[in-house]
Amino acid sequence: MRAALVRGGLAAVPLAFFAAFFAYPVAAIVGRGLREGGHWHLGRIGDVLGDGSVRHVLWFTCWQAAASTALTLAVALPAAYVFARLDFPGKRVLRAVVTVPFVLPTVVAGSAFLALLGRGGLTDSLFGVRLDTSVWAILIAHVFFNYAVVVRTVGGLWAQLDPRQEEAARMLGAGRLTAFRRVVLPALAPSVAAAAVMVYLFTFTSFGVVQILGGPTRATLEVEIYRQTAEIFDLPTAAVLTLVQFVAVAAILAVHAWTLRRRESALRLVDAGATGHRPRGGERALLAGVLAVVAVLILLPLGVLAARSFDGPHGYGLDFYRALGSVGDDSTFLVPPVQAVGNSLRYAAVAALIALVIGGLAAAALTRRAGRLMRGFDALLMLPLGTSAVTVGFGFLISLDKPPLDLRDSWLLVPLAQALVGVPFVVRVMLPVLRAVDQRLREAAAVLGASPARVWREIDLPMAARAAGVAAGFAFAVSLGEFGATVFIARPDSPTLPVAVARLLGRAGGTNYGQAMALSTVLMVVCAVCLLILEVPLSSRAATRTPAVPGTPPGDGPAADPAAPRTAPTREEVLR
């Protein structure tokens, strides 16, 4: 009874957040489309669904998302293992770098991607194959953008799985594959499913990638909703399409919940710093393969961007960076890069904080599996990922305009919109870890007299600290690169990096283009550096903090030093 109350209390804050900043604005804009003169016009639903081209768009949206998800998992799961379990020089930096595509404006990354797949690109010069107008370009670009989602979500948990279970299975005669299939895979399933559903939702609402690489004949539902809302201004059609999108997303979430229900179980979680080892035998080939994929798929397009930013009118040099320095001297249009970096960091920090608090509370409320109501709540939190940015942006505009929520002209709208996308990441990253915490640990703590809050702080929080670091990094990266919703929120001028890049790109001229590339490079560096900074303290704190179950000496040594020999007792052992 008391637990239910606590859970309800924890869920109340995220629920209120979603009601105010998601459900209400979206309902307002959908209502505006479907209600006219006080009557609902539900006949529009039939009209729109009867349209063959709409069905075609829906079909394409669904299958390309499914295919992109499968491909991303296939390419990124080995990398998740490599980043979770193998120690190699430069790992930390590389893990930050693979997340960079995630924050890049799709216009920028898309054009870099053309250098890989388009005319004169790598595939063209090596094999004479141009993929830039085929559906493969979309799928591969989706892998590029979502690689980090899998590496981080799955890798976060994988690093904490106790390798000795697998070793025990091997010892008992299981082959490498069998041990993986019977021991590791079931343990990983929830986080793989979580990563899959996030990649699916991201690619389902893909906008820029499909526009740039798919050519004009391919459109996702997102493109169509954007057109109907922002260009044609046919709100009824946009409303119906938004509802269709909800149904499609809800169906996916239902499948996700259904596959998960029996999979999640308590796991033996150990300190992530202690599970890594130097690659041996076949692992060296695996590592080499993963590094090769990263080099071609991620580093090459990023390198092309960076190279273009240095490729000035007088050969390679810093011309464009110098030009950036003079930007904004006498124009209201372009902002000095330092200011854009400052705006971006400020928004991203606030958004990440909101996402971490809201998502953390939600994850805490969802930790113990519960009835249908809580599962519905879980799904609700995911919906923003599958909702068009223009729907949210326009919804904000017409709904958050009256006291007590008169935020129309407030800068807070931007981080709020960004946090909507960040929260699902926080929940999906933290939940598998929290649910894997052995219930008996909590019970033991409770028996020893700890209150529920203390149990959470002393047992769950230290275990989840690493996941929280990963989640915070994601939420931060999401908002750093977020462009969709922010661009539809007319606001007093404080452009973020992606907005400033888009402004430069919107103008003709080599200098503008070069500056856009230079600013994109700045964005990449800022993102990588922030992720490095953001994760170091969180993961090292996770390594040094031990759960203060009475009787345990605090800060026991071995786990604090990732390089310490792994023969030292892990936290799990200390706890028991």
């Binding site: 005319r119 809302t229 922002a230 260009e231 326009f394 929520l405 203390r454 007319a490 888009a502 001229g509």
Partner: protein
């Protein structure tokens, strides 16, 4: 033990309360411009993402009138107009700038603007005053969407660049043109409107069939066409663009030269002057504006020489006021379009949807 937890809980409550106060403060502090009774000293201009002005020019407005300018930008021109319509009962500012002739009817039909006859309107040619009877909107600038060509390509191939719509379907220009999707790009739409204005509602489809047969490539955005596929722009050259013809603006040639040192004798980009469609951008006083006096002053200011002569380099558009001088880079490298095509806004509003749908099935 319990006391620390309580203290923390209390701390969290204080934090939450503080956050709520901040939220509420932001809510009440902004957007309530002139509600307090005394006339507001701020003019709020609502516009699209491309709105730009020199700080010194806006400072001069403040010096002349005592009003400071606040700019709200949101999305492209279409999105900005639609947002203004959605919020017309409680407008977010005093002046809207950036509704063009392709969107004008939508704005006027929705009663977005109050009539105002701007000072200096007598210096604006009659052919751009599309609401001359009621003065709900004031023309501010014009821009022409035209086919651009890569000078280097045509001189090295000893080929005369195309000058008219009819030229584009000739065999010597096969597979040379890249244009934009009319449903996602405003220059793409303007180019389609130019062909409709030229060939009429009867024959434009035939023209586009010929264009398609002649190998026109369609991409989704101007950025993609100009910066990636077009071989004439600096960015397109870097990206290995292989189309020497694209649909862009008459102001692209000077834009290619700005910032290039030393300035070249000619812009690498030329304009096919017989392929242009004129876009006219308007400003209007928003109905229900909190500071109508300030809004009117800003519209007057936008027709002043100071603002008009600042626009070309800020927004790459042409001034509408007679006698406003263009900067040297425009007169030296730009193209003067004597006879651009155009269509009445009401016709565009009526037929646009059908045209776009037909174009989609015909070309894509």
């Amino acid at each position: 033990m319990t006391s620390t937890i309580r203290r923390r809980a209390a701390g969290a409550l204080v934090l939450a309360a503080a956050a709520a106060t901040v939220l509420a403060g932001c809510g009440s502090g902004s957007g309530s411009g002139g509600a307090s009774g005394k006339p507001s000293k701020t003019v709020t201009v609502v516009s699209h993402d491309s709105f730009a002005a020199s700080k010194s020019v806006l400072a001069q407005f403040t010096k002349e009138t005592g009003y400071t300018v606040k700019v709200l930008r949101g999305g492209d021109a279409g999105a900005a107009v639609n947002q203004a319509i959605l919020t017309k009962d409680d407008p977010r500012g005093d002046v809207f700038f950036g509704v063009d002739n392709t969107l004008l009817s939508r704005a006027l039909d929705n009663g977005l603007f109050d009539p105002y006859t701007a000072k200096g309107l007598d210096q604006v040619p009659a052919d751009v005053q599309l609401d001359a009877a009621k003065h709900r909107v004031t023309p501010i600038d014009t821009g022409d969407v035209c086919v651009n060509y890569d000078r280097g390509y045509f001189s090295s191939h000893h080929l005369a660049p195309p000058q008219t719509f009819a030229d584009l379907v000739k065999p010597q220009y096969k597979n040379l043109l890249v244009t934009e999707n009319v449903s996602t790009s405003s220059p793409g739409l303007a180019f389609l409107l130019g062909t409709i204005a030229t060939y009429g509602d009867q024959h434009w489809q035939t023209y586009w069939k010929q264009l398609k047969a002649n190998g026109v490539k369609v991409v989704d955005s101007w950025e993609q066409a100009y910066d990636s596929d077009f071989s004439g722009s600096a960015a397109g050259r870097k990206a290995g663009g292989d189309r020497p013809l694209t649909v862009s603006y008459a102001s692209s040639p000077p834009a290619e030269v700005v910032g290039v040192n030393p300035p070249p004798a000619q812009s690498p980009v030329g304009v096919s002057t017989g392929t242009c469609f004129r876009q006219i951008e308007f400003a209007g006083l928003l109905h229900g504006a909190k500071n109508p006096a300030g809004g009117k002053a800003f519209i007057d200011f936008m027709l002043s020489k100071t603002f008009q002569q600042d626009m070309p380099l800020q927004m790459y558009v042409d001034p509408v006021v007679k006698g406003a001088k263009e900067p040297a880079v425009f007169t030296k490298y730009g193209a003067k379009i004597a006879h651009p095509t155009t269509l009445p806004p009401a016709t565009i509003a009526d037929r646009r949807d059908d045209w776009v749908k037909t174009w989609n099935s015909l070309v894509l």
